[in-house]
Amino acid sequence: MTDQTPPGGNGRPVNLTACDQSFAATVRKHAGTNFSACLHCKSCSGGCPFSEAMQHKPNGVIRLVQLGLRREALENDTMWICVGCHTCSVQCPMNIDIAAVMDALRHMALATNAELPQPDILTFHQAVLASIQTYGRTHKLDIMMRYKLKARDFFSDMNVGLRMLAKRKLDLTPSRVRQVEEVRALFDATVED
């Protein structure tokens, strides 16, 4: 193996003078899992189906957090690509909930307006939430329209969409919650928090 990538990933050196000493503790509190036990055995990264697509492998992100490299940890794309499939935590010998670390970093990145390396993934999540806020349920066609408008991606997947429409797999009318105000109130309550 020629893996000499330092914890900063991508062959770049890590600047340890830029460390935020309290960062690891904050992430740990949000995530509710003790990643200081991480052995860096890389089982998580080996099992993760999206390791290849990530800027840092899952264990690399844990290393960034341990080192207190706040900005690097909050502005790389790994936690956005992470789908929360838990393949990693099932394989982790230290029983670390790696997906919970990714969740915490994502929430912290949003809360601090960190720069987003994968805006389209956030756009997608927002389109799903907008659909839930409108109908109380997800409406696939509505989500796709919202997503495509915002991501300015009009033509990819036209073919897939048309095939699904032809098979009556994309309903034109949404399935709705009757008391949708109740669902909307939950969104309002979250904004206040």
């Binding site: 838990h86 969740d103 990819s156 098979k167 009757r178 109740e182």
Partner: protein, 285 residues
């Protein structure tokens, strides 16, 4: 039919089964009826929040799940059809059971206490203790040696907090084998299907899905059987290989074996037509 009284269970179909995967919902309800389970759909259920609520806000994810949990008739277990909804709702259940502040919020929002004994059951768990005979209830059509690979996606992987609960590994193989199908071994049964990345990053999902198909074809299976509507969709829309296999919902095969008569409707809705394979095995028409 000399069935004893039906057992009631609360039922959460979830968005996919209410829309895109209607075929799976119909076959699931038909199957439950046959094994003596009466499903009472939550009167005004909402989306479980899916990956997106969970990705962006923990509180919103918990609140959306709670609104559903608050609609469960007292004392009934909740049957959930979709593995991903099961995980979301069960995480909320676990959080409510272990956090007093969350329970207070639940009570304030929904004017009822949280039922601390609540059980959330995925459709597969319901079948766990069924033997071949009561699965069939005397209505069994053999699946005639149909070769399949079971695809669980990420449903067998759970976060450490709820890991100690029941594991459903091997259940699809066991039940379908009892009904006359032949499971093939492979190592891709728990590979993730890509879930939401299928929309924003198809470039990352296509190779993964193609690898899943490649492995399935190598085992000489004639179809992939999945228990998740999201997996079903991603496998169907993201496979770019020439040589594809039909992807069947687990509940479709069950209902077919039970002799449900309305399957032409379900099979016509697949993007990869399963009818040629099923016809070869003498399972249609």
């Amino acid at each position: 039919m000399a069935t004893s009284k039906l057992i009631d269970m609360a039922y959460f179909p979830g968005c996919s089964l209410a829309t895109t995967a209607k075929e799976s919902n119909a076959s699931l309800i038909a199957y439950c009826r046959r094994i003596g389970v009466n499903l009472i759909e939550l009167p005004d259920w909402n989306c479980c929040g899916s990956s997106s609520a969970h990705s962006l806000s923990r509180q919103l994810a918990l609140d959306l799940a709670s609104r559903n949990l608050a609609q469960i008739p007292e004392g009934l277990p909740l049957l959930v059809a979709c593995p991903s909804c099961t995980l979301r709702l069960d995480e909320a259940r676990h959080h409510l059971q272990t956090h007093a502040t969350a329970r207070t919020r639940f009570e304030a929002n929904w004017n009822r206490p949280f039922d601390s004994g609540l059980k959330i059951v995925h459709f597969l768990e319901l079948l766990e203790n069924k033997t071949a005979s009561n699965n069939s209830n005397g209505h069994c059509q053999s699946l005639n040696g149909l070769k399949f690979v079971p695809y669980y996606g990420c449903m067998l992987n759970r976060p450490p907090s709820i890991r100690s609960e029941k594991n459903l590994f091997g259940l699809m193989e066991k039940i379908l084998a009892q009904l006359g199908a032949e499971p093939m071994r492979w190592s891709y049964h728990s590979k993730c299907c890509g879930t939401f990345l299928s929309v924003a990053r198809p470039d990352a999902v296509v190779p993964l899905v193609n690898r899943i198909f490649e492995n399935a074809v190598d085992t000489r299976a004639k179809c992939i059987v999945t228990a998740c509507a999201m997996c079903h969709m991603n496998l169907e829309i993201r496979c770019t290989r020439k040589e594809k296999l039909p992807v069947l919902h687990f509940s479709e095969l069950l209902s077919l074996a039970m002799g449900a008569g309305d399957h032409p409707d379900w099979f016509a809705r697949h993007l990869i037509d399963p009818r040629p394979v099923l016809t070869t095995y003498g399972l249609l028409g």
